[in-house]
């Protein structure tokens, strides 16, 4: 075991995957010689050569669509989208082809590929570098949607995504890339897609969240415990599609009070679906309306105002207080 940052764990996962399967390759903008703008693919070009760590021309529709062709032909492309805001040019290939080729061809053609997408805010970057796109793609069928929250899961989930027979959007919490280290096995292991994790156990209320927000939720839980003695259960969804409904509903039925936490724009966000699922499966258990802590219905602000947008611990604690004091 070695202590790794989240970005190191991703880099390690890619190396492990490429060593065990010659069909795995990475492609995208600056992923080769430069090792990626976040260095996620650092060293791959040197170890695996230019045919497996491929610098492409600057055209997302081009390399995402071409990667689909590669996947159908039998390769296992792991595409890096440089930043969340730049998936947009490939939107058509994603929703009209990659998500559909299996269904369209009734299983004759499949598209096992992974799109790694540094996502969400928190690094004070320029516009289009801090987006929350999960709400759209959770509504697109045929894609899986995975969001790790720590180095161990990042490696295990990425390896599971590469193994998966279907296309996976792998949303990486960029603000956690170098935030902390964790013990991560050097060998191959997977964390199954579709299983949530109880990041913290509790009986008084539940926070449903994922990715970078898990850290915020844990801090808020600490504070709530210290200030109010509340035992908060934090559910780290890890994968939004497939979704671990049993764990979600189980926790809500246990605590009877829930907060959903994301930084996606509020209207029609994935958090809305979580509330709808609670409505469908556990409404009668609720002691209070589910509180949602989300981003606002505005474009992610430039860096001086970024912290106004991203839900911080205070906003989460306020929501906890709401559901507890209803």
């Amino acid at each position: 075991m070695a202590k790794m940052t989240l970005i190191a764990a991703i880099n390690d996962a890619l190396k492990v995957a490429m060593r065990r399967d010659p069909n795995v390759l990475v492609l995208g903008e600056d992923v080769g010689v430069n090792g990626g703008v976040f260095r996620a693919t650092d060293g791959l070009y040197q170890e695996f050569g230019e045919d497996r760590a491929i610098d492409t021309p600057l055209a997302e529709a081009g390399f995402v669509g071409a990667a689909m062709g590669m996947a159908v032909y039998g390769l296992k492309p792991v595409v890096e989208i440089q930043f969340d805001g730049f998936l947009a040019p490939a939107h058509e290939h994603l929703v009209n082809h990659i998500a559909r080729i299996r269904n369209r061809s009734r299983g004759r053609f499949t598209c096992p590929m992974v799109l790694r997408i540094p996502s969400f805010g928190g690094i004070k970057a320029l516009e289009h570098h801090s987006e929350s796109i999960e709400s759209w793609y959770a509504n697109v069928q045929g894609l899986k949607l995975v969001v790790p929250s720590n180095p161990y899961d990042a490696k295990g989930l990425l390896l599971a995504a590469i193994e998966d027979p279907d296309p996976v959007l792998f949303l990486e919490p960029k603000r956690l890339y170098r935030a902390f280290r964790q013990e991560v096995p050097e060998e191959y292991y997977t964390v199954p897609l579709g299983k949530a994790a109880i990041a913290r156990e509790g009986k008084d209320l539940t926070v449903l969240t994922y990715g970078p927000h898990v850290q915020t939720a844990l801090e808020a839980a600490e504070r709530a415990a210290a200030d109010h003695g509340w035992q908060t259960e934090v559910v780290d969804l890890r994968s939004l599609e497939p979704l671990d409904l049993d764990t979600i509903i189980g926790s809500v039925k246990k605590t009877r009070r829930a907060v959903v936490l994301t930084e996606a724009p509020r209207t029609s966000g994935f958090h809305s679906e979580l509330i709808a699922l609670i409505n469908d499966h556990a409404l009668e258990y609720l002691e209070a309306p589910v509180a949602r802590v989300t981003g606002f219905d505005v474009p992610m602000p430039y860096l001086l105002s970024e912290d106004l947008y991203i839900p911080g611990v205070e906003r989460v604690v306020a929501a906890m207080t709401e559901v507890k004091s209803w």
């Binding site: 021309p57 062709g69 159908v72 040019p89 082809h97 061809s105 499949t110």
Partner: protein, 371 residues
């Protein structure tokens, strides 16, 4: 000054239209090096496809099929672009109008019929037939054609791919991105443009300023060529060169075939709103089937009886396919859920159960009886 010099280039000469047969079936140049058997084979294929296309149009008019995109008039392109490919090895990436090429490569007519009747199983091409399903989003399939060619190259397979696109499709960004990737990675992908002069109602003159599309090749440093798309022997000659180039590591080729669709864009379209009867008649006079027939007859390779026989054989073949297609059962309810993922998610299982409960309640199930 550069900006003036470039204007001097005469693209129509630079990309002179390749032709083997004149409209009347006489030789425009040297004899093609195709065996009589091959000449008859491509003729047979064109006749079959014309029959298939016409019958499909009728089926749609009779309400026995959904919206249909006919290719009549473009048979030389459909057959010529796919005939020389190695079945089970090379790949094609068709649009809604290339179900002729699909059948040439080996996709059963029944698949095409079921597709247009509204059954996804039609898009499930048999194992061993390397045709992508019909792609409707314009020009997207070109990028897939380059991706598969690229993958094959990386795997050291000497596979060739053909991506189909229309004149209108060349305006999409994907056309550019596909050509650029093909050029940069020197992929064995052939971009086959059927320039039938219209994108639905939009004529070439509103689609691009240039007199040729082939000249776009100059922007990528790849070979480009224009060919008479009503002359199957010319299309075959151009494709042979492109396929040889691709298979031998020479990379991509941009082919512009000049052609015309006799019918509507689809069965929902009314061409009278945007093109003249004269234009249609003018093009029918260059009919690819009639042209090759005359050549074959002149060479003493073909007789009128044989021709009659072929047309009625084709009619019967198509009729048999239609019967088979119409005898197939409606898609089962499960089908719409079972192919979204390799393993249906728990949520999909719940949704399928719900729908089946519903249909049960509704007896025969109002939902899936009509259509």
């Amino acid at each position: 000054m550069a900006t003036i010099e470039t204007g001097k280039l005469n693209m129509e000469n630079l990309f002179a239209i390749r032709r083997v047969l004149n409209s009347d079936g006489t030789l425009a140049g040297p004899e093609p090096n195709l065996a009589p058997a091959q000449l008859k084979e491509v003729y047979r294929l064109m006749v079959y496809l014309r029959s298939f296309d016409q019958r499909s149009l009728n089926l749609q008019r009779q309400g026995r099929m959904g919206t249909f995109a006919p290719f009549s008039g473009q048979e030389a392109c459909q057959v010529g672009s796919a005939y020389l490919l190695q079945k089970g090895k090379d790949w094609i990436f068709p649009t809604y109008r290339d179900h002729g090429a699909m059948q040439v490569l080996g996709v059963p007519s029944v698949n095409v019929l079921r597709y247009y009747m509204g059954d996804e199983k039609g898009s499930r091409v048999p194992e061993g037939v390397n045709s992508f399903p019909i792609s409707i989003p314009i020009a997207t399939q070109l990028v897939h054609a380059v991706g598969v060619a690229w993958a094959a190259k990386l795997k050291k397979d000497d596979v060739v791919t053909v991506g189909y696109v229309g004149d209108g499709g060349t305006s999409e960004g994907d056309f550019h991105e596909a050509l650029n990737f093909a050029a940069v990675f020197n992929t064995p992908a052939i971009i086959f443009i059927q320039n039938n002069r219209y994108a639905i109602s939009t004529p070439n003159s509103k689609q691009f300023k240039t007199r040729t599309i082939a000249q776009r090749a100059l922007g990528y440093d790849i070979p480009g060529v224009r060919v008479d798309g009503q002359d199957i022997l010319a299309v075959l000659a151009v494709m042979q060169e492109a396929i040889d180039r691709a298979r031998s590591g020479g990379g991509p080729t941009l082919v512009e075939a000049l052609t015309f669709r006799y019918g509507p864009h689809t069965t929902s379209d009314d061409p009278k709103r945007y093109r003249t009867e004269e234009e249609l008649v003018e093009w029918q006079a260059r009919d690819p089937i009639e042209r090759l027939r005359r050549y074959l007859v002149a060479k003493g390779l073909w007789t009128d009886q044989e021709d009659e026989g072929l047309w009625s054989w084709a009619k019967d073949q198509v009729a048999a396919a239609v019967t088979e297609a119409e005898s197939m059962p409606r898609p089962a309810v499960d089908e719409i859920f079972d192919y979204v993922y390799a393993e249906p998610t728990p949520e999909l299982v719940r949704q399928k159960e719900y729908l089946k409960r519903q249909l049960g309640r509704q007896g025969s199930g109002e939902a899936n009886t009509h259509g």
